[in-house]
């Protein structure tokens, strides 16, 4: 069984107004393999996946399934053919339960009546396969971003497809969940399915994949080649189109005597946090690490007034504060918050990029009568677009038309443009490609070097180790410990994992 070509495409073309998103892409998926699909942000990976699953109809090229040419006119046809998918953006029905979302494509039913009982078992099974423990009756709107991502994956598992396309499934997962997912992927491959894996984390790619296709500007520059033949740098070179030179970041020191900009002193929240103490000093990057659902995002949301603080004290610039809204946080205390939920809270999908980026600086640009010069505005936006390498057809393009990674860049760009005194960054590099991630890191680093205190939440341990001065580890809404970062990935990750496991030890 292994080795037969399941799905093959040649010369695929997909055109959007202003861009050729796919410009002659070839791909061959064989049974029993895990296939990496790589490329920079905006290279066309998601578009390719959408074409393969009948979301977009191709403007040219051929698609064959088991040797026969097929036309996939709708997602339903693709599912019926045997192609399952997890799209890059989370696509769940907010009001439906976890179980119903998982079984949405093919709900267990009896004479047209949905069978809710019969829904639970397969949903729980799919979740269990991923090692997730979620109440299947909970509406998904109540889940955290990462939990929703897991539900998405469970939903794809439910369809039991021959070809499973995963578009950045691990972007908001922590290593533990990722590892479980890999086990599932390997199991599927062993069963004779083909899994396509899109990720910007090359370590992951090398860990789980055996063949690779690299896209650049909508063209496949490397087609279905064994991954073992290539090195990290090869691949990056292919993606970027040149050698990838890593620059050293300039050293940075933290003045430990300065008054901390943000202090949490034994804070507890209505969300269930207890005894949270934390300090962030000027020029310091404090990492807040934890597994999915540990309550990190919730904690900062509580600090920003989106949830109630029930005990302890929050001090900003030395004085105790009571923040009631993110806006107050921004305007009175200069706290900027880059949300992890870019689709709902980060970008304005139906608005032009220029507005998305400059929203935080209009106040500064405004002249008499609140007049904002369109040119200055464009200059600011263009500057950031260039600096972050955001791939756009024009500043007037709607943010919703950008590739996922580019949206993430837009979401961060507006905070880089703003003048804040404290920046809280939640999962900044989700879905961002290698090169830009590097650029992001440099930016964050330099912001701190210039004296900005930064609280960084990330599930990407490598990122933590690269950037943070101290790593605070949180599980289950409690702080388990604090580690001084010595920038040695292996040592640090070991210590962090141990801290997390201590909790488990305590528990059992």
């Amino acid at each position: 069984m292994s080795g037969t070509v399941l799905l093959e495409c040649e010369d695929l073309v997909k055109v959007f107004p202003g861009v050729r998103a796919l410009d002659g892409v070839g791909l061959r998926l064989t049974a029993g393999s895990v296939h990496a699909l790589l490329g920079e942000n905006g290279a066309g990976k998601s578009t390719l996946i959408k074409v393969l699953t009948g979301v977009h109809s191709p403007d040219g090229g051929r698609l064959t399934w088991n040797g026969q040419q097929v036309h996939l006119r709708s997602p339903l046809e693709a599912t019926r053919t045997g192609i399952g998918v997890v799209h890059q953006e989370r696509n769940l029905i907010p009001g439906f339960s976890v179980a119903e979302n998982i079984t949405l494509q093919n709900p267990p039913s009896h004479r047209g009546l949905v069978d809710r009982e019969a829904m639970t078992a397969p949903a729980v099974a799919c979740l269990a396969e991923l090692g997730v423990d979620l109440d299947p009756q909970r509406p998904v709107r109540e889940l955290s971003v990462a939990q929703q991502q897991l539900v998405e994956i469970a939903k794809a598992l439910y369809t039991e497809s021959r070809v499973l396309l995963l578009d950045e499934p691990t972007a908001s997962l922590s290593p533990q969940e990722t590892e479980r997912l890999f086990e599932v992927i390997r199991r599927l491959a062993a069963r004779g399915a083909c899994v396509v894996f899109v990720s910007h984390k090359l370590e992951e790619v090398f860990e789980v994949c055996d063949t690779v296709t690299v896209l650049r500007d909508g063209k496949s520059v490397l087609e279905s080649s064994p991954l073992a033949d290539h090195t990290h740098d090869d691949i990056v070179g292919l993606m970027v189109g040149r050698a990838h030179a890593a620059t050293e970041m300039r050293p940075r020191t933290v003045d430990h005597t300065a008054t901390p900009t943000l202090v949490l002193d034994k804070v507890s929240t209505a969300g269930g946090h207890r005894d949270i103490s934390l300090e962030v000093r000027p020029g310091e990057i404090v990492g807040l690490y934890g597994l999915v659902g540990a309550g990190r995002s919730e904690l900062v949301k509580a600090v920003l007034g989106l949830d109630r603080i029930t005990g302890g004290e929050v001090r900003v610039h030395g004085g105790p504060v009571h923040i009631t809204s993110p806006r107050q946080a921004l305007h009175e205390y200069g706290i900027g918050y880059v949300t992890e939920n870019r689709k709902e809270e980060g970008v304005f999908l139906e608005q032009p990029i220029v507005r998305n980026i400059t929203v935080t600086v209009w106040k500064r640009l405004a002249k008499a009568l609140g007049f904002v010069s369109a040119r200055e505005e464009r200059d600011v936006a263009q500057d950031l677009v260039d600096r972050l390498g955001i791939r756009v057809t024009g500043l007037g393009q709607n943010a919703g038309e950008l590739s996922g990674g580019n949206q993430q860049k837009v979401s961060l760009a507006k905070w880089l443009a703003a003048d804040t005194k404290l920046l809280v960054i939640d999962e900044p590099t989700v879905g961002v490609d290698v090169r830009t991630k590097r650029a992001f890191h440099e930016l964050i680093w330099d912001l701190a070097r210039d004296g900005l205190p930064i609280l960084l939440i990330s599930s990407d341990l490598a990122e933590m180790v690269t950037l943070a001065d101290r790593i605070v580890v949180m599980t289950d809404h409690r702080i388990r410990g604090e580690l001084d970062n010595d920038r040695d990935y292996d040592r640090m990750s070991g210590r962090v994992i141990r801290l997390i496991h201590d909790r488990d030890a305590v528990r059992s």
Binding site: V15, R216, D217, V359, Q382, G389, R391, K414, D446
Partner: protein, 354 residues
Amino acid sequence: MTTSISPPDTVPEEKTATHRMPFWVNQRLGLLALVIALSVLFGVLRPAFLDQQLVLFPLLRDIATLTVVALAQMVALSVGHMNLAVGRMAAFGAMFAGLGYDRLGVPMQVGLLMCLAAGAAIGAVTGWLIARTGVSSFVVTLAMDFALLGLVSLMYSSLTDDAAFTTHPTGIDALRSYSLADICAGPICGSPAVPQIAQFTVLAMLALGFLYGCTRIGRELLLTGANPAAAELSGIPTGRRVLLAHTLSGLLAALAGFMAAAGTGTFRASIGDDFMLPSFLGAVLGGTLLTGGVVSVLGTLLGTALVGVIRKGLDLLGVGLESLNIYLGCVLLLALSADRIRAVVSYRKVVRST
């Protein structure tokens, strides 16, 4: 921030040369073409359509008023809200003008200011309630509609005999019947087709065009409408923007009420009774999204004009009431479908040229 990242060399050149849709993809242009095409059609079928005094003047006067109504709705839609009380806010505003003229004998301009102030005030109350409570604008403005409906008719029945303020201040009759040709002589300055009352519409459009096109507040209004959560997290005072939008909506509604009153003769309670549907129709036809975040001031004018022209044309053709509405609906659908085809074709063209 001293980092410099070398511009990625893989990105094609056009990236910085901002790519824009060609002008003919624009929806406003489609509407304009439709309005012109229909005018020409009716003009050919009934040459009287181009009669400046008897046809165009009243048509434009109507369009002028309804455009302001639609703008009032557009402003509420811009923050993703609705104003179901447009008509009643118009009546409420107009009542104050009438009261001023009838009881206080104020000059026309003062009455107009009273009217606008009243409209803005009631809009502000509405906006404050919505922003403060977070209850759907639909419910709040609907309740406001009822409250004003009751209040306005109570006021009129207690203050007047036949439910109307009939005093005409000096100047208001000129507003009603003067065209550009009456204000200054000669063909250069104006045709008898353009009503003087349209000055308010032009002013409102210019002001809103400036607000939404050039200012910070306008942009913030739009973003509040596009995604309130993201707007709040981006530091936009969404509550204040909502308040502002409803205040403006009330103000414009009151202006429309004044224009309607000046256009028909007296200040009465039934002003604005029929404002609600045209207000949505004009705005939505013009390209304003019901979901918020996108407005078009010019589109609103064109949308209103389209409906006005169709109606006028059918009137001129002598279509009776038994067919009028049928034709009106059909022509509207056909015209829009034609525009839709144009949009699809032009989209294909852009795609092909890429």
